[in-house]
Chain length 492, copies 2
């Protein structure tokens, strides 16, 4: 979940100034509308030390009308609090309808910290998270809007920040021993937070992870998200005297995880042939080893039309014995499939022990094409992230290796390939008018793909993004990744 | 949850015959409507051995059109099944839209049995149940109707049944060693099933516990519930060509847990005085002991208007030091309370360590008056059972003793008391025209009270039903129960 918050998002001073002035006005306006609304707004601020949590809270107080905004910070428990159930300290300060409550530190802090310091086991953390979900659900069921921010810093950025603060005598005091102690636990903290965020990023109350390194970027992103969420919720509540939601300022061309891919990577024909032989040979050995160990493998391929999924899959399967694998191309569902739960058709095809199943498109259709084309309602695709992660968790728990590949090209390359298909008689069947129409929604698909990578990339079923403007490069990267992951899986 | 399924429900042959003939026609008709419906129906059959699970499944096949009905029984796992995640065996046989799937044994069996035989711990069971809730939620979110039956037998009834089967040479074969082995684990099985049912009796997919001793009663109850559930779901789905739901056959004056109370119990003035002194003295000692141990106590009083709650509460509090207790009368919420979650006003009043808080009416208003008067939507009060149980679980986990009393009188006694209030000048203020109006909804309130007792009576926060036609009897029973429970709580 954190990959997209480690890519160096930035905003220039000019852009920030322009946006901030509009944002502040809109936030004040929406706060005015909110006063009459039949629901409270709960904003949670969590994340990595030094990622700007405190500054962000201060900024919100500067931007908004503090009369209708209250911030609660949670440190050590008071006597009063210790004598009641843990949730009491949160219940007592929940905001009433029409108001905003900011929770700086929240019901997530204790469960995550206890786990990081080894005071609890994974199973305890999981039960804590279940209780958190139940708590948030009852708030949302009664109308509350819960907005959850997680401010993130990559390990490198955090190290740089601590070092630079320490070097300057004027800021040295800000770095405490606890900060360095925390830093030593960075990896553990990251892993455990990921587990917590994944489990609690529900349709009702999803997390937004924000890269915290650049103050301007994180502030505008937070402000816009608050504005957007409250406005959507106001519209849904049919609150009477509400002014129509303002058009939102959007950060033009937001910098996403897909933007970080270097699509110019390529291989010479010679390198390609040599490496293909090498890695296919390796793959053959490794998958047979997996088979002997009784492990099954599921590969998922998603990506743009004409990205070259078919060609990649053929390079994988030619290293396997035909008796051991199955390729499942996913198109529109059959009548029978349509009469079942959308996941049913995928459960059907789960491999037996020692087999490989390759999905050419998959259950991710729900959060890609069905989302963009409006075949699934927003609540349906929002809840699908959780459903899908649960599904893959079950596969993993059962010992199946699940690997997911996003095959990425840019729109120019796609157009080139479409035109080539039109010009090549035996490739004609592969191209329709609809393919061209879909190109108009490139940005929407890209947004959906980014959300998907962010919300469903897990330690047990990771996404691999494959730069595929050069087909040869893409094929080698997939086969090689597959070898690496298979090999690594034997160690567990 | 099982108390109301241990009171000897029965149906006469005449009543059964009359009802069955109508029920069968209606079931066939609704199956016809269901064929075009955009959702599947999943019926789970679970429960105690010998409570009629198998016979009930057979009966459904007899009553309904077997073309659109499929039963799946789950025994030991096949090779095929073992090689996939546990849920695979269930996913593969889920019914398509418009059909009914009966699951004889289900995803509940393995988690409960493993726990009973000590193969897993409570925390494992809890996580299994969380996964079950997630599984059922995804089915319901996609439209499925899930109907869950638990057939129950009291320990005595089960012993009788096993013995009588064993005595008859013709039926002896039906009682296996496993049956007797299970019987030895009856108490454990009951406790663990209760935990499982409570946790998974969600608003989306609640359990219905049916007393299994009388074949006629259990069959009609099951049939009616299926009819009712499908009909409600059809109406909600706006399925096009659906005939309007039939008026339901109801079992007249269903025999409920409240009906089992013997309201003629009474005490003489002399006995009353003597016992009151004795138990109040005891209570004083015990609550001071609790205080020293740092335990807090929450008492909840619910019951009919004029049932005598106030008088009972005064008999409790006069045994306590005024500095140690608080009585919270719950009437209509204040403006401030109304602007919060409905549970917020109760969280406010949680006692500190060593204190006693007495709620004169409580959070149960949501599933009583708010349900009956339509102030809360059906989905809101259905989900409240879970919310309330979660709330009380948190109190219990924190070490608070939670006891709940339902003060019960019959309508005749209530009328007598109302008239007395009218005739007594200083009691005039206690009676309004609304009190008389509420009497018209006696049956609805009684139904709501029974559901409440069934769905929120837990091992950690039990309900005590108090026969209160005689005020003296009621007061003594409450004070005595309180002593007993306080004392028992010290042992843990």
């Amino acid at each position: 979940m954190f990959e997209s918050a480690e890519i160096g998002h930035k905003l220039s001073k000019e852009e920030y100034d322009a946006q901030e002035s509009i944002l502040r006005i809109q936030l004040l306006e929406i706060q005015e509308d909110l006063k009459q609304a039949p629901f409270p707004v709960i904003i949670l601020i969590g994340g990595v030390d030094g990622a700007g949590k405190g500054e962000s809270v201060n900024l919100l107080h500067e931007w908004m009308d503090p009369h209708y905004l209250q911030t609660h910070a949670f440190g050590a428990m008071s006597d009063e609090e210790r004598e009641r159930p843990e949730a009491w300290r949160f219940w007592r300060v929940l905001p009433p309808k029409g108001r905003i409550g900011i929770f700086f530190g929240s019901w997530y802090t204790r469960p995550i910290v206890d786990r990081v310091y080894g005071k609890t086991r994974n199973i305890d953390l999981d039960l804590d998270l279940v209780r958190i979900n139940a708590f948030e659900k009852t708030l949302v069921d009664e109308g509350a809007l819960i907005i959850k921010f997680w401010f993130h810093l990559s390990k490198e950025t955090q190290a740089l920040r601590l070092n630079s603060l320490t070097k300057d005598p004027k800021t040295r005091w800000r770095v405490t021993d606890t900060d360095w102690q925390h830093f030593k636990l960075y990896d553990k903290f990251r892993r455990i937070s990921e587990r917590a965020l994944r489990t609690t990023s529900t349709g009702e109350a999803p997390w937004l992870v924000i890269e915290g390194a650049d103050k301007r970027y994180r502030s505008i992103t937070m402000g816009n998200y608050i504005l957007n969420s409250i406005s959507k919720r106001l519209a849904a509540s049919n609150a009477p005297s509400v002014t129509p939601p303002n058009p939102f300022i959007k950060i033009e061309n937001p910098y996403t995880i897909l933007d970080t891919l270097n699509l110019s990577q390529s291989l010479t024909e010679e390198d390609y042939k040599q490496q293909l032989e090498k890695y296919q040979g390796r793959l053959n050995l490794l998958y047979r080893q997996a088979k002997e160990l009784g492990r099954s493998v599921i590969l998922v391929f998603e990506g743009w039309d004409a990205a070259g999924k078919g060609g990649i899959i053929r390079r994988v399967t030619s290293a396997l014995d035909a008796r051991d694998y199955q390729v499942i191309p996913i198109a529109a569902p059959s009548d029978e499939e349509r009469s079942h739960h959308y996941l049913w058709r995928f459960w059907r095809y789960l491999p037996r022990v020692g087999r490989v199943t390759i999905f050419d498109r998959s259950w991710y259709g729900r959060v890609l094409v069905e989302r963009v084309e409006g075949f699934a309602s927003e609540s349906a695709w929002m809840r699908a992230y959780t459903e899908i992660v649960n599904f893959e968790q079950q596969l993993h728990d059962h010992g199946t290796l699940v690997l997911k590949f996003w095959i990425h090209i840019d729109p120019e390359e796609q157009l080139r390939r479409f035109q080539l298909r039109q010009a090549t008689p035996y490739k004609h069947f592969k191209i329709t008018a609809e393919d061209f129409r879909n190109r108009e929604k490139w940005n929407e698909y890209e947004l959906a793909a980014n959300d998907m990578l962010e919300r469903t990339g897990t330690e047990f079923a990771p996404w691999y993004t494959i730069e595929a403007n050069d087909k040869k490069f893409a094929r080698i990267k997939v086969v090689k990744t597959l070898c690496d992951r298979l090999k690594a899986s034997f160690k567990k």
